[in-house]
Amino acid sequence: MIEFSRVSKRYHGSLAVDALDLVVGEGQFTVLLGTSGSGKSTTLKMINRLVERDEGEIRFAGRDVRHFEPQDLRRRMGYAIQSVGLFPHWTVEKNIATVPQLLGWSYARTAARVHELMTMLQLDPGRFARRYPHQLSGGQQQRVGVARALAADPEILLMDEPFGALDPVTRAALQTEIGRIHRQTGRTVVMVTHDLDEALGLATHIVLMNQGRIEQQGTPLEILSGPASDFVRDFVGRSDIGIRLLALERVAQHTRTGEILPGEPLLSHNTLREALSAFVARRVDRLPVVDEQGCPAGTLHFSDLIDARHDAR
């Protein structure tokens, strides 16, 4: 969907992005991961030409982005940022309707779309549509920001640390939301973050950047189980790798069906990391599992956690 070939960007002579080669696959959730200043935002902004590259080529839908009018290009790509940047003088619904209006959608179509998006992002249209941004909490503002980015059904969603300014609970809720939207719509997403766990939880493809270059890329599992350099190993946290690997898999995949145990159960959509925590906290080596409806689904044994690691390889 998007291809970078040998793309560089300089600020005052120093390279912010250095001969970058990257393919963003259609339908993928690509996360640009790295420490602050590693060139993630610059890379993202070169896609919608908020920043113009100095060298190399960037193709979108097979054509060089320079061959698009910047405005046309941007209207085909959703864009959400950490500080949200909602228009303070417009209501929530008018904010969300920004791009549909630019594209000249009819009133009815725009209104229906705004309603649909607010519902999808769990903002009650009856309560929030007419409010102004300053009357919303930070989390609600960011929901509006994401809804606005999705409004005109963009071919690709670009997000720059969209949840960086939120408290952990709100952030987790929005991460779940964006993951669900990605699975439901199959939309291509490129997201920038410096938060490893956020990347591991959402990405189908992680691009780990360092000083304007790609240090390693691959699935979360590939990054965790085969760090390509000391930098990557340090970044993913040497001692925490095992725990993070467990976070990638769900209890359901390893449940032994047929066995029923009494006691406080695990949920089948819990991660193995949460299961480990439960084993240690309760000092047991087997736990009952229930599915999303609360019906008994089987048991999980402590030793299955290690098998899981094994299977994953």
Binding site: N48, R74, I81, S83, F87, H89, G145
Partner: protein, 387 residues
């Protein structure tokens, strides 16, 4: 320290009340002179307390204990009303006393004394203090002020104050006064409109080009430091020369003296606050909002018209308000080079040492400034209110 509303006493009200008592003790409320050119002496209190006159002081009695009451809405409302009623009462008293004196000695002049002006200011401050607490919203507060001071206008219009010296000066010079008012407004508009028409684009340009901004502000700051009289003087020679060399300019009214140099100088002064407010207004638009707008595909023009200018508007309006008030005041000085306006009345009064004639020029200038300030503040507050 507990928040203001929880304190037992209102210290501001106490201070204002004490100042009222002090000024009444120290200065004369009204003065009387045998004719318009002589300096007046204080009218004794016995003259101010004839017949029903003491009744007019009643609102003042209400004001005395207000500071000691527990601050709450009812007290604020009563205090604001009492302050307005006190000022109206003092005006009525002055008018009635002046009429009595005039009946005795036809050429005698009754004028407001220092205590009256100080009481007027203190009454206004008292009411403003209470209204600010009663109406947190600026727009409803403006309307409350209007209602509170409307009786003064009615009193003035009713003719009950006509025997006061200032109003006699007005009666003698009604035509001159009306011309001056019209001319003052003309100068104001002729200054503001071109200053805005050039100041806003310059501000926009300066905002986009930081290099230009520095040079522009350097020039405008220098202009601002030239004393107005000097600037008027500096313009006389080149404009006189222009009028001589191009007769069509002279026919259009351009000359070394008169409206032309006044308006040019005032517009130059007006440029700095107008340009600066445009730049400041655009600068305070959050960068994230502009980035988001660009990222969603708004063009530069759309960002300017739909995002930057609307968000800059409150600051820009404040700039116009400050400029308008400044221009009303400075336009008085322009009378020195023959531009007319209320300044002409002031300088005429100064030349003849007729203090009340000076006041006839000063009062409307102050009133005009206050009204303009209130009007623009009202518009600004409308922008602030978001449902």
């Amino acid at each position: 320290m507990p928040p203001f509303s929880q304190r037992k006493h209102d210290r501001v009200l106490l201070a204002l009340t004490l100042l009222m008592l002090a000024s009444l003790y120290a200065w004369p409320l009204l003065t009387w002179a045998p004719n318009r050119l002589l300096t007046g002496h204080a009218l004794p209190w016995s003259r101010l307390a004839n017949g029903w006159h003491p009744l007019l002081w009643l609102p003042g009695m209400l004001l005395l204990p207000a500071w000691a009451l527990r601050p709450r809405r009812l007290v604020w409302l009563a205090t604001a009303l009492a302050a307005a009623a006190l000022l109206a009462g003092l005006c009525g008293l002055a008018g009635a006393v002046a009429a009595e004196e005039a009946a005795r000695t036809p050429f005698g002049r009754t004028s407001f004394g220092a205590a009256f002006w100080s009481m007027a200011l203190l009454c206004w401050l008292t009411a403003a203090h209470c209204l600010t607490r009663l109406f947190p919203r600026h727009s409803s507060r403006s309307i409350a002020h209007l209602l509170l001071w409307a009786p003064l206008g009615l009193l003035l219009a009713s003719g009950r104050m006509d025997e006061l010296s200032v109003l006699k000066e007005y009666a003698n010079r009604q035509d001159v006064f009306d011309d001056a008012l019209w001319r003052h407004v003309q100068i104001l508009l002729a200054t503001l409109l071109p200053a805005i028409a050039t100041g806003w684009p310059l501000g926009l340009l300066a905002f986009r080009r930081p290099a230009l901004r520095q040079a522009l502000f350097a020039v405008l700051n220098i202009i601002q430091t030239i004393p107005s009289i000097a600037l008027f003087g500096l313009l006389i020679a080149p404009l006189a020369w222009l009028a001589q060399t191009s007769p069509w300019l002279a026919r259009a009214g351009v000359g070394g003296i008169g409206m032309a140099p006044a308006v040019i100088a005032l517009a130059l002064y007006a440029l700095l606050p107008i340009v600066r407010s445009m730049v400041a207004g655009l600068e305070q638009v959050p960068a994230a909002v502009v980035e988001a707008a660009a990222g969603m595909g708004l063009s530069q023009r759309q960002i300017l018209l739909r995002v930057e200018l609307p968000l800059a508007l409150p600051v820009v309006l404040a700039g116009i308000r400050i400029t308008a008030v400044q221009t009303v005041g400075m336009a008085s000085v322009a009378a020195l080079i023959g531009a007319g306006g209320f300044g002409a009345i002031m300088f005429q009064g100064l030349a003849g040492s007729a203090l009340d004639l000076v006041l006839l020029g000063v009062i409307p200038v102050v009133a005009l400034a206050v009204v303009l300030d209130a009007l623009f503040s009202f518009f600004e507050s409308l922008l602030e209110i978001r449902p």
